[in-house]
Symmetry: C2
Subunit: 129 residues, 2 copies
DNA sequence: TCTTGACTCTATTCTAAGTATAGACTTTAT
DNA sequence: ATAAAGTCTATACTTAGAATAGAGTCAAGA
């Protein structure tokens, strides 16, 4: 299949597919005589793997590591477990940060209502110190 | 004061201060004969306002809007309230996304332990479809 | 007075993960 | 034969800075 069909089947945009290839995440496909990329099922699977990882917010660098792991099927998968555990920690940290942020913003929102002028605005006032 | 002192007083790095100026967020300061930037209290306050906004993850574009508002002190502050409300919504959305992500990652982590080989790895298996 | 170190200047490059565009070429359908 | 749709490469843009090179400036000590 050509890149347009791969795009439809995978749900990745054509630009994104070419981007992953350029970055070395997705293997280089064969080319037709007219230099068009041609993909098979194996490459579709590679792309789906990448997309699945990205949907879990796993970075491209981490995906590279996972792909490297996949290519060594006899080794221990402890590093994969570790990567996911660390990723969960990062997500937890981010959730904490955002929750605290949300609290601050909500308090700020309560310090004003929309019927004041800018110079009386409780929000802008709080933002100034 | 020169940019080094402004940096220390505000907690923004020197590069960041110059960056904000270049982007039009921070007003251009006076210059000495040797072309060094010289800042006064008013500019320090501008920078603190920007920093405070950024710490709440308010985008530079939104900060630009807020600064524009500040310069029109007689107008209604309803747009400021709206901006903060929308920002709270964005933060809430992000928290929801991350919470769902966390759940998925934790389920995935449970599908494997570190004592398997790569080819048996429950995590990599789940990532492949 | 000279020199050394600290400070500042501009301009450029890099980051992540794509998105968007221009201009050229190829394929497909009518 | 022509037009539309698809594909190609290369480049620029996005956010919010961080990092660097190379040049110029300033203050203190010898």
């Amino acid at each position: 299949m050509k890149i347009g069909e791969l795009s439809k089947r995978s749900g990745c945009s054509i630009q994104t597919i070419r981007f992953y290839e350029r970055k070395g995440l997705l293997s280089k496909p064969e080319r037709t005589e007219a230099n068009y990329r041609t993909y098979d099922k194996a490459l579709l699977d590679e792309l789906i793997f990448i997309k699945q990882c990205r949907s879990l917010d796993i970075s491209m660098k981490e995906i590279e590591t996972l792909i490297h792991n996949k290519n060594n099927p006899e080794q221990s998968c402890s590093s994969v477990n570790k990567l996911i555990d660390e990723h969960i920690c990062q997500v937890n940290e981010k959730i904490k940060e955002l929750s605290s942020l949300k609290l601050t913003l909500e308090q700020m929102a309560q310090s004003c209502d929309a019927n004041k002028t800018i110079k009386e605005c409780g929000i802008l006032n709080e933002l100034s110190h």
